[in-house]
Structure formats: structure tokens, C-alpha cells
Amino acid sequence: MTIPVALLKKKATFKRDPERVPEDFHEELFRLEEEGEWLVDRVTGPYVEVPTKYGRPKKVPKGHLWHHKSCGQCGHIPGYSTSIFWVMRKLGYDYNDPRDQTSCTAWNYYASATSNAAAQAAVALRNFAAAKETGYFPLIHCGTSYGHYKEVREELILYPELRAEVRKVLAKLGKELVMPEEIVHYSEWFYAMRDEIASEQKRDMKGIAVTVHPACHYYKLVEGDAIYDPDIYGGQRTAIVTGLAEALGAEVRSYSTWFDCCGFGFRHILVQRDFTRSFATMRKIEVMKEEADPDVVLTHDTGCVTTLDKSQFAAKAHGRNVGVPVMSEAQFAALSMGAHPYKVCQLHWHSADYRPLLEKMGIDWEKAWAEFEAEVKRLERGEVEFLTWDDVDA
């Protein structure tokens, strides 16, 4: 039996007890700046205020963003990154896609622990300093980078000895300590911009049933930054992804294991995938199928898309109840705005069969694939070196 989100809305709304609201980290952030400990990279230019878990409004800049890319997205799900850029371009917001950026290295840290608090903080602050040098404000693509950077911020606020160590390292690079006023995840930008995105919609998502997997590192790690909206799930779950999917007209269906992790496990996905496959199948995909029967699973993090998508092939061979496409809400939003499923959303890098979903959206995937292959032939013949943004919209 499916559980419509509308029913959840009738449940009691989460009300914050003012006595139990944690302190706003901004007080410490600006105090440390006054004391000369670091520079705060402020949000300038137009922004949208979004509600967070404890009611604090968070500023999400609309444009002039420095895209802190995700190694897992760029490496294995490139349509994820491409869709983020494509939507931003379509809405007319400028951005910077830097080469002066490293991975946050947190996937490795959570997998192998072959690093330490000082190294992790130095990597984060090197990237933040690089962003500030360009004048663009950082937008974090990966959920784990976002969660980890919030952890780093918390640690640097708490421990003067860590700040001193990181300052020494960054001085060797000729860089100052820089901390952004807000650490912003790309999915928060999509949430904040959902009405603008919907206003540019070319494909109707009515009739598309969606389940949402909220990413652990988005809302469990340093929870106070995550978006919670009283109008979505009564403020009892993070509103991220769901708010966008609803704005696009999709039907979001709930399921009982929404709080469960996807099973990624960081080291498990790479070297112990029996755990990852089992968890993703038995605690996520099968439960979604049985309780909500979605047309697509939407999520907003690198590891979650990878895990939920790639785990289904082996599970299917074992006769499990799987078989539902998985993508980021950025790809879903891009599709709704008329993006090409292969040239922009790069769905051929995904494993679970997405073709029935495209058909339901009214997309002729056979024609679209032929168009993509024709472009690849041009590349093969050396007629063009790379495809450009103009090419993918042609």
C-alpha cells in the first residue's frame, strides 16, 4: 500500500522548543573573524532564504557560484554534474567551474581513516580560499563534502589548536583561513530555486511517482544546516528533494525506511559490496517497491545514486524485487526543463533501466540515443574535439 505525502501532512507538525534550539554557529563564526582568526566569505548578491531544522533562515545565493565538484559524480555519474551546470545556465546564472579544486577527500577518510583532522580541515580551507580568490561563492556538489565541511567548520570553531595547525599549513601555501558564511549544498540551490525551475518546465511530471532518499551526510551530520520546511512533511523530515519534486508536479510517495542509509559504507562500496548490495536491496529498493511502487528514486548525493542504482543488477539476478531507475533530482529537474536524456543527463552511465520512465515522460529514448550516437560519430571522425553546451542543446 502506498502512503501519499498528503496524509503525512495531516500529522502533527514538528514544533521547535525554543529552549532546546542549539546556538547559531554564526555568532562564533563572526567572533573569530573579529579576533582575526579567519576571514568570513560572505554571501553577496541576490539570495533566497530557506528554513533550516531549528528555524534559522539560511541564505542560498542565486548566482555567481564556485562549483565544488564531486569526484564520484564527475567520475562515474557525469550527467549529475552536467545537469547541475545545465539548469544553472538555462536559468541565466553565472558560475565558475574551477580547476583549482581538489576533492574534499572525505570519501577516503570515512573509508580508510588514512588522514587526520588537520589534513581534512586544511583541504577544506584550501578549497574555500581558492573560491574566495575568484570572487565566486562555493556551492558544494557532494553530500559527503557538504557534511564533512560542516564537521570541519564545527571543529575549527571548537579547537583553537586545530586552527593554529591549519593556519601554519595554509601559510606555506600563501593562503589565509577562509570560512564561508554558509556552507551550501547544490540541492539547497535546487530547493531554493524550485519555483524558477518549475516556471521553465517543458515536460509535465504529473503522473510520475517518486520516492526520495535523503542523504545521511546531508541532514544527519551537523543537522542544524539542513532545510526543514513546515509545509513539507510537517517539518518532521528534511524537505530537500521532496520540495523540488512536488514543485515539478511529481507525486512523492513515502515509505517506511526513509531514514535508513543507502548502504554505501564508503569502504564497503569499493571493497565489501556484499553488504552494500544487501542493504540497498533489502532496506531501500525492495521496501520502496513494495510500499510505494515508484517510477523513479530521486536522491541528492553521489554515493546514494551510485549505491541505489548499481546494486540492483546483481539483486535482479537473484530474483529480488528490484528494477527502478535512480537519479539525482538535478537530472530530474533538467529532464523536466527539456534537457536531452543522453547529451545532458548522461543516463547511459546508469545501470537500472530508466527507459520506461523516459517513455512515461513522453521522451522517445530511441530517437534521443540515435542523436547522441550521431554526436559521438562526429567526435570519432575528428570533426569536433569536444561537444559544447551549444551542441547539447542543438
Partner: protein
């Protein structure tokens, strides 16, 4: 009936008799000396909320509650056993932050893992077997996973699309409109100066040195690559 492995996890059967109590206590002291530790552990109600939320607890003989309890009780023997047997089962999802007492069992495990790596414990060496190429990739290139890792023999369980990607990799990367994504051996095109700065970070913070304890061969390779580049830039690590 309790399984044999569960029985082995009883306090009385912590094992590792060949390791002295003093050595186990030294390692626990290293865990407790981490500056984050006081913020990660406040005590345990034994409510089990962390276990209910934990993905690893569903498929392994693993419990974040036992981690928090052992540390809070300062049970040197059990903490050592957990460093050898349990900590690498954690998914590091931090669902256990649901703890009503404010504990962070996942964070305690992060610290325990670091200590296990720094001291070259057998569990760390074993857990990281087959993982060397990932450490190599992230530390030497600044991006953790690369498109060319998608090989059918490495990911046979991910379906035939992996082979399609592998067969068409160079062309499909050129078909990506962002100019930074035309790479095959890194996630994106990282500026050489950026990489130099990353190497300085690995040297200065002791992160590179940590590799020596778990994989000496990998350490030597990484050290050579990084020293060569830093030398070219006139930087002495």
C-alpha cells in the same frame, strides 16, 4: 542460540592475550587524546536508538552502542578488541547521531580507525587490502574515483553498462559539455599548482606518514611522486 562470534565478543572473552594490557591501554589513551573525543562521547543511556538506526548492525555482529559503552566504561580490553574486530564494519553514515545523549559513536570509530592505522594494527592492514589503489588515486591526483576505474572485471556486479562505459570511455568523456570533465584518469582536470598545494598538506599534517604503517610499498611510491613535484616547485617538505 548465540553464535560463536557473539560469544567471542563477551568481555570475558575479549582475547588478544598476546598483547599486553599496557599496550592496549596505550592505544586507548591515543584514542582519548584526540581533541574531538570529549565532544563525541558523553555517556550512554543504553537505549539502543543508535543500533536501531545503524545499517551495519543489521548485517554484521556490530553495535554502535557497544562502542559507546566500552569507551564510556573505559574498558581497555573491549576497546582493543573492537579496534581489531569491529570498527571497519561501520558505514560512517552517522545515523547514530540520533543518540539522545549527544554521543557520536561513528565519530569515536573514526578516531579508533585513525589510531588503528597510525599503529599499523592487523585490522587496519586487513581492512585496507585491495584499497591501496583508492588511496593512491586520492592522494596523488586530488580526486578519489576516476572514470577509468569503471572496468568490468572490477565491477562485475554493476551490470553491462560498466563495459559500455569502459569501451567508449574516451569518446563519451569528450561528449561531456563541461570543459573540466574531459579527463579519464581523474574525476576532473585538476590544476598542477593545486596538486602541489595538496601534496604540501599531506606532508605537513602527517597524513602521508600514516600510509607507511599500513602499506609501506604504497607509501614509497606516493612519497617519490610528491617529493619530485615539490622539488620541481622548489618546495622542501
Amino acid at each position: 542460540m548465540a553464535t560463536a562470534s557473539a560469544l567471542l565478543k563477551l568481555d570475558a572473552a575479549a582475547g588478544f592475550d598476546d598483547v599486553s594490557y599496557e599496550e592496549k591501554a596505550r592505544l586507548f589513551d591515543e584514542v582519548r587524546a584526540d581533541l574531538r573525543y570529549p565532544e563525541y562521547l558523553y555517556g550512554c543511556y543504553e537505549c539502543g536508538i543508535c543500533v536501531a538506526a545503524c545499517p551495519s548492525a543489521r548485517f554484521y555482529d556490530f553495535s554502535p552502542r557497544r562502542i559507546a559503552q566500552a569507551a564510556a566504561r573505559e574498558d581497555v580490553e573491549l576497546v582493543y578488541q573492537q579496534m581489531q574486530e569491529d570498527i571497519w564494519e561501520c558505514s560512517q553514515c552517522f545515523s547514530c547521531l540520533r543518540c539522545p545523549r549527544g554521543n557520536n559513536p561513528g565519530g569515536v570509530i573514526t578516531i579508533m580507525r585513525e589510531v588503528a592505522v597510525n599503529n599499523g594494527l592487523a585490522s587496519a592492514r586487513q581492512a585496507l587490502e585491495g584499497y591501496s589503489r583508492i588511496i593512491y588515486k586520492i592522494m596523488s591526483t586530488g580526486t578519489q574515483v576516476s572514470p577509468d576505474m569503471l572496468q568490468p572485471d572490477a565491477f562485475p556486479d554493476w551490470g553491462p553498462e560498466v563495459k559500455d562505459v569502459s569501451d567508449n570511455l574516451a569518446l563519451w568523456r569528450k561528449a561531456l559539455p563541461p570543459e573540466t570533465l574531459h579527463t579519464t584518469s581523474t574525476g576532473w582536470d585538476v590544476d598542477p599548482r593545486t596538486l602541489t598545494e595538496l601534496y604540501v598538506i599531506w606532508f605537513e599534517t602527517g597524513a602521508l606518514e600514516m600510509i607507511k604503517e599500513v602499506d609501506e610499498g604504497l607509501y614509497t611510491i606516493l612519497e617519490e611522486i610528491m617529493e619530485e613535484r615539490l622539488e620541481e616547485e622548489g618546495i622542501t617538505p
